[in-house]
């Protein structure tokens, strides 16, 4: 155990370095190397951050969903495993909120130039806002609920929240409203020019590697807090037993 911590730390620093390196390549591709979009101009470069992050914001909720299911399964059978699953559920919910917040804000900034408006109650935008609200309410329930069952209630909420993810994904296929049509898997006219692919895929890889890094870092923080709380409780019990009767 004494040797494991330094090696884990080295892996974490290496992972962080790889994430930053890929993101620098992605930034260079998106801003300097990819030709300007003929229809949108330079504001179209927002796409290289907005779309990869939006795609990832629909993957992290499934990690939260799986961890919540494991928490509910283990909470009576194996409380220590349940604690680890709960820590992972919390970390993935926070990363979901971070990615969904960026998706909404970068989309609004793009929309103001492309559409002339910051917001519209389009099917994709509304379902994405709903996803953000669901995971914010998940975090608020965990933080502010006074009952001892808040983690269980949050796990149940996360199962319902995960239902919104396929709705967000399918919204631009089911309802053709203001949001642009899907770039991938959107029919014969979908897709992007070959010159745009490197910028897109470098940024997708970069934000995925970065997302995994912050997810595991947040998970490690929560585990550290849980272990500290357990040790504090144990010390309190030991101290109470030492009081002379």
């Amino acid at each position: 155990m004494e040797q494991r911590t330094p090696s884990l730390r080295s892996v974490a620093w290496l992972w962080f370095g790889i994430a930053v390196a890929i993101l620098i390549i992605g930034f260079r591709q998106a801003i300097f190397l990819t030709p300007t979009d003929a229809a949108q101009g330079d504001v179209g470069r927002i796409f290289y951050y907005h779309v990869p992050i939006a795609m990832l914001s629909l993957l992290f909720p499934y990690l939260n969903f799986a961890a919540s299911l494991l928490y509910l399964y283990w909470r009576m059978r194996d409380p220590l495993k349940a604690l680890a699953a709960d820590a992972f559920a919390l970390a993935s919910a926070e990363v979901t909120v971070v990615y969904a917040t960026i998706t909404l804000l970068s989309g609004m900034i793009w929309g103001r130039v492309a559409w002339g408006i910051w917001w519209t109650w389009d099917a994709r935008l509304t379902s994405m806002l709903l996803l953000w609200l669901l995971y914010v309410s998940y975090l608020m329930l965990r933080n502010f609920s006074p009952t001892g069952q808040s983690h269980t209630l949050a796990a149940v909420l996360s199962i319902f929240a995960a239902v919104d993810v396929p709705i967000v994904y399918m919204s631009i296929r089911w309802w053709r409203t203001q949001h642009p049509a899907p770039v991938f898997g959107g029919g014969p006219n979908a897709g992007m020019d070959k010159s745009m692919l490197p910028a897109f895929f470098w940024n997708l890889a970069g934000w995925a590697v970065w997302g995994i890094f912050i997810l595991l870092f947040r998970f490690a923080l929560e585990r550290r807090r849980q272990i500290n709380e357990q040790e504090a409780a144990l010390h309190a019990i030991e101290a109470s037993l030492e009081i002379p009767q």
Binding site: R224, I227, E231
Partner: protein, 47 residues
């Protein structure tokens, strides 16, 4: 695009491009900073 044209704030499109990238990098860096700060505060028992 060059560094010079990137930071040309004369057009709305350029201002919004910078704003979008700043929002993305700012939120990600801010969240990482918040986690790192709490990590330092919640000192592990094995440290």
């Amino acid at each position: 695009m060059t560094w010079h044209s990137l930071f040309d704030f004369s057009t709305m499109a350029n201002r919004h491009l910078i704003a979008a990238y700043a929002v993305v990098l700012g939120i990600q860096a801010g969240y990482l900073g918040w986690v790192a700060r709490n990590w330092m505060r919640a000192k592990g028992s094995r440290d």
